[in-house]
Structures are given as C-alpha cells and as structure tokens.
C-alpha cells in the first residue's frame, strides 16, 4: 500500500464478503425449493429468493469493483484519494440502498424486471451514489501525477456502467420494448463495460504480480477490450432472437455473439503469457491463483458455455431453460467473482501489513470454491439439457419435467455446499488478515 486513503477499499471488500454470504444463503433456499423442500414459502417464496440472489450478486460485485477502484486509482494516479470521508459516505449509502432494496423484496416492493428489481425511488439513490463514487475516482485520477491506461480503462468501465444503468429506468408500456432496453443494461454491463473493469483490474494485477513491462500489458489490454466491444455490443442481439423484435437480430446477434468467446480467449492467453513471461515472481501466490483462475474460467464460463447456446438454431430450444443458468453461474463466477477475489487477495496483505501469502487455508478456499462451482455448472447443465429434450423435444409438461430433473438439484446443492465451504475459508482468511493499518505503508511490497 502506498497511500493511506487506499485503506477505504478494505471496507468495500468487507461489504462484498458479507453480501456474498447472503447471496449464497438465498441460493440454497432456491436449491432446496427445487428439490421440493419449499418450507420457507410463506416468508421467502421463490421469486423473493431469486430477486435477492441476483441483486446481491450485482451489489457484491459492484462493491468489489468500487473497492478495487479505491485501491488501484490512487496507486496508479500517484496521489491520495481526493476525499476519504466522502468515500465512506458512499460506502454506507451503498450498503443502506442495498439492504433497503433486499428488505423491500420480502414485502413485495420491487419492479419485477429480471436483474433490475430494485424499485424506482431506490434507482435514483443508486444514481446519486454512483455519481459520488465516480466524482471521487475521476477527480483523483485527473488530479494525479499520471493517467495510466490501466486506470483509464478501469474508470471508463465504471463510467459507462453508470451511464448504461439509465436505459433500464426508461418506462415502456410494451413488454417487448421494456425487455429490449433492459438488455442494454444487463448485457452491455456483463458482456461489455464490466469486461473493461475486469480488464483494468487484471492489467493492474498482472503488472504487480508478473513484473512484465506496463507498456506491453497495457497494449494488449487495449486489444482485449477492443475485441470485447467489437463482438459484445452487437452480440446483444442474442437476447433479441425470440422476444418479439425483428429477424435482423437473428443474423447480427448470431454472428457477433459467436465472436464473443474471442475476447475471453484473448484475455486467458494474455494472462497466462504474461505470467510465463514475467521475471518477477511475486510471493503472493494466492492472488496469482485467483488472477489466472479468473482469466481462464471466464473463457470457459462466459466464452465457451455462452457459445454453446448462442446460435439462433440452438437457442430456440434452450431459450428460457436452465441451460442459461448453467452459463450464467460459471460466467459470473469466472469473469467477475474471481477477479474481485483476486484483487482482495492481492491488496489485503498490503493494506493490513499481514503477509499471509500462501496459507493452506487460502489454497483450500481457491480449490473448493472452484470445484464446487464447476460441479454446480455441470448439475445445471445436465438439468438444462434434460429439460430441453423432455420439454421442448419430447413435449412433456413443464412441471412433469421439473420432477424428472429434481435429482440434479440434489447434486447442485451438494456442489454448492463445497463451494460455500471454499467461500467460508476465504472469508476466514480475510478476517485473519486483521484491519487495515497505516503501519502497512512502511512495509515494502
């Protein structure tokens, strides 16, 4: 850690960990309900658990991205954060908005639009919160001694993420138009600007962990984010095949979303090559595990599994089935969950001064979480493919099919338990690092 104000990142990461635990808890509620143990239906019906699960995912990742920005931007800009108190105000208001939204879901207060369930009045507070965050980050960056490509790409990702939240707030009478613009937020976030954020964090980590020249890493960063937008923007079309808009999207979406894995492949190759090229072997092995893991699993989850059902000929059968859940879980985990855990693993010893670089607990956390998530992905995949065949090909009734595939959710819950064990170990490791301290400033990285 080079600047005192970087410590604020710790509290964003702590909030992330707390929300991740809650997200997993509600995931279990859904898993058990699918097996038939819906005992909490009176208090937490499936639609509440689902809204909480997905919204917590978004909020813990955003909190992680914000923490990453508060850690990375001062170091890249070579100055303290412009206003630390306001950063804490932003943290508390983010937590309050998130908690209010989640409590509201339990009382039927929501918008009922997939991934964007937060009710409209809270949307305005989210906008204010994000504007405050961006104000702090961008002012720090432009008042700084230098504006590196890594910092610019990260900030650009955060700025575009804020701007793209706005189309989701437009009111439409038509379900089709509503859905069309909802994807401007959801798709262009996760398959567009969030990849800029991921790229920025990945670039920072690779510079620190491998010692490869910044110019080389940042050049390839441009190529990767270029590929991301080149394929991802028009790749939005894969959400438009069958929701009631023009057939042109079958062609455009088909072609460009088939190219989307290229960006993830480039990112995986880039990370592995930089690691191999690097002469500096940073002692923080856990951060390296999570960093390379994120680059590789994002290619598998977002790239390959996305490609598996992205062509219109396949998607006509898989659209609206558990195949989407298979892709969604590994994609979010690989691309975004793991990169947040990577930056936490890297920055935590630097902020606290406790260099628990390579503990067996930390390694167990990595492997259990990943094995568990891969198992969950397989369970969702088998259930999804069975659903497609039974329901869409053999024309069985939806609920009869659900009974047939319930066994796969037993496997899912077992794998989720392995995953949750990994996350608990990670959080114990987080806790063992202690609080951030100014004394850590003096410790050489």
């Amino acid at each position: 850690m080079k600047y005192k104000s970087q410590k604020v990142a710790y509290w964003f990461f702590a909030l992330s960990m707390l929300l991740l635990v809650l997200q997993i808890t509600y995931g279990f509620v859904m898993g058990f309900a699918r097996i038939g143990f819906d005992n909490l239906h009176e208090f937490v019906p499936f639609n509440v658990a689902r809204a909480v699960h997905t919204n917590l995912l978004v909020v813990w990742l955003l909190s992680g991205f914000m923490g990453a920005a508060y850690y990375i931007i001062p170091e890249e800009a070579q100055r303290e954060l412009v206003n630390v108190k306001l950063a804490y105000v932003q943290l508390i208001s983010l937590a309050l908005v998130g908690v209010t939204a989640i409590v509201g879901f339990h009382f039927n207060i929501w918008e009922g639009r997939k991934f964007l369930e937060i009710p409209r009045p809270l949307d305005y507070l989210v906008v204010v919160n994000v504007l405050l965050f961006l104000g702090l980050i961008l002012t720090t960056l432009f008042k700084g001694k230098r504006q590196t490509t890594t910092a610019l790409v990260l900030s650009m990702g955060l700025l575009f993420a804020a701007l793209l939240y706005l189309p989701g707030m437009l009111p439409f009478d038509s379900q089709v138009t509503d859905s069309f613009f909802r994807w401007w937020v959801v798709h262009l976030w996760v398959e567009g600007v969030w990849e800029l954020i991921m790229g920025g964090i990945l670039s920072f980590l690779l510079i620190k962990l491998t010692g490869v020249d910044r110019e080389v890493i940042e050049k390839w960063l441009y190529v990767i984010v270029g590929l991301t937008f080149l394929s991802g923007v028009l790749g939005t079309g894969h959400h438009y095949y069958y929701i009631g808009v023009n057939k042109i999207w079958l062609i455009v979406g088909g072609i460009f979303s088939a190219l989307e894995p290229l960006a993830f492949l480039a990112m995986a190759l880039f990370a592995v090559n930089m690691y191999r090229k690097g002469e500096k072997k940073h002692p923080n092995k856990l951060a390296l595990y999570w960093t390379l893991g994120a680059a590789i699993l994002s290619f598998v989850g977002a790239g390959l599994l996305g490609f598996a059902h992205t062509l219109p000929q396949t998607n006509i059968y898989t659209h609206g089935t558990l195949v989407t859940a298979m892709h969604g879980h590994l994609a979010f985990w690989g691309a975004y969950g793991m990169i947040v855990l990577a930056i936490i693993s890297y920055s935590l010893p630097n902020m606290t001064g406790r260099k628990l670089y390579d503990s067996s607990r930390g390694r167990m956390a990595f492997w259990l979480a990943n094995v568990g998530m891969l198992g969950m992905t397989v369970a969702f995949g088998v259930a999804g493919v069975a659903q497609v065949y039974l329901e869409r090909k053999f024309k069985m009734d939806f609920m009869l099919v659900q009974k047939e595939i319930a066994i796969h959710f037993v496997v899912l819950v077992l794998c989720a338990s392995i995953f949750a064990t990994g996350i608990i170990l990670y959080i114990i490791d987080f806790y063992k690092h202690g609080k951030p301290s100014d004394e850590a400033l003096e410790i050489n990285e």
Partner: protein
C-alpha cells in the same frame, strides 16, 4: 508489430463503429414496417396487466418470452395451452388461480396466493393474450399448444 497507439485506435474505433451500428439497428427494428412487437394492439387493460405482472415479480418464478426464472411454467402461450387442457376454459382457469386466496400448487410447487380482484385478473389475462400474439420468430411454436399436443392432458 502492433504498437500501443494502434491498439488504442482499434479499441476506440471498433467501439464507436459497433455502437453506431447497434443504434442504427435499434432504430431499424422499431421503425414502421419492421416492428413486430404487436404495439398496435396495446390496450389500457394490457398495460395494467403488465404493471400487475411486474409489481408482483411474476418473472421471479415464471418465464415470459423465454425470460424469467425457470421455476414455474413459460406463460407465452398460456391461454391457448390451457384452452386445450381445460376444454376452452383457459382464461377462467387463469383468473381463478390469480384470484385464489390460498396458494395454487399443481404438481407440488407452490405459487404465492395473490387474491386478485376480478378486474386485476382480467387485466393479466389481457396481457397474456397480447403476449400470445407477438411474432416471436418461431419461438412461439416451440412453446405453443401445437408443440405440446395433447399428451400432457
């Protein structure tokens, strides 16, 4: 070998061009003659039905136009499908489910008991009927009663 400047130009140029094409295609697909969203048949009832659909987060269990949570049935062609199953009484069945004061649980999975009024239930049915008439580029056939035939009766 690619320079950093060229890489930046590739990123900025590629992004700008694809965004412009994306916006152009958006305008194209909603323009007169290319619009297939069934907009002309949007009535006040349908809009109210959509509001009820959203305010109860029905998508948190069901799917509609293939979008939702995969926990409860796809409702894109639900009226037609239930008409086949219940001898033309699809709308009545849907309304009775929505107006029921106790949870509907056919095949074991519980639905929240919404206890809607007759008017609210009619609005939701109007919304489903409107959804059922959208041209979905073939997906409507996958979830239509024709695809389900009568084997599930």
């Amino acid at each position: 070998m690619l320079s950093k400047k060229q890489a930046r130009a590739f990123f900025l140029g590629g992004t700008l061009v694809t965004f412009l094409i994306f916006i152009g295609l958006t305008i194209y697909s909603f323009s007169k003659g290319n619009d297939q969203t069934n907009r002309e048949n949007l009535t006040a009832e349908v809009v109210r039905g959509k509001e009820i659909w959203e305010s109860n987060n029905c998508m948190g269990c069901h799917t509609l136009l293939g979008e939702g949570a995969y926990y409860a049935p796809e409702l894109t062609k639900v009226v037609d499908r239930l008409n086949i199953r219940y001898d033309g009484n699809g709308e009545t069945v849907i309304k009775s489910i929505l107006m029921s004061p106790s949870p509907w649980q056919l095949n074991g999975r519980k639905m929240v008991a919404y206890g809607m009024t007759e008017q609210e239930a009619s609005d939701v049915v109007a919304f489903f009927n409107w959804i059922g008439k959208i041209d979905l580029n073939g997906f409507d056939r996958v979830v239509s009663p024709l695809a389900k035939e009568k084997i599930n009766k």
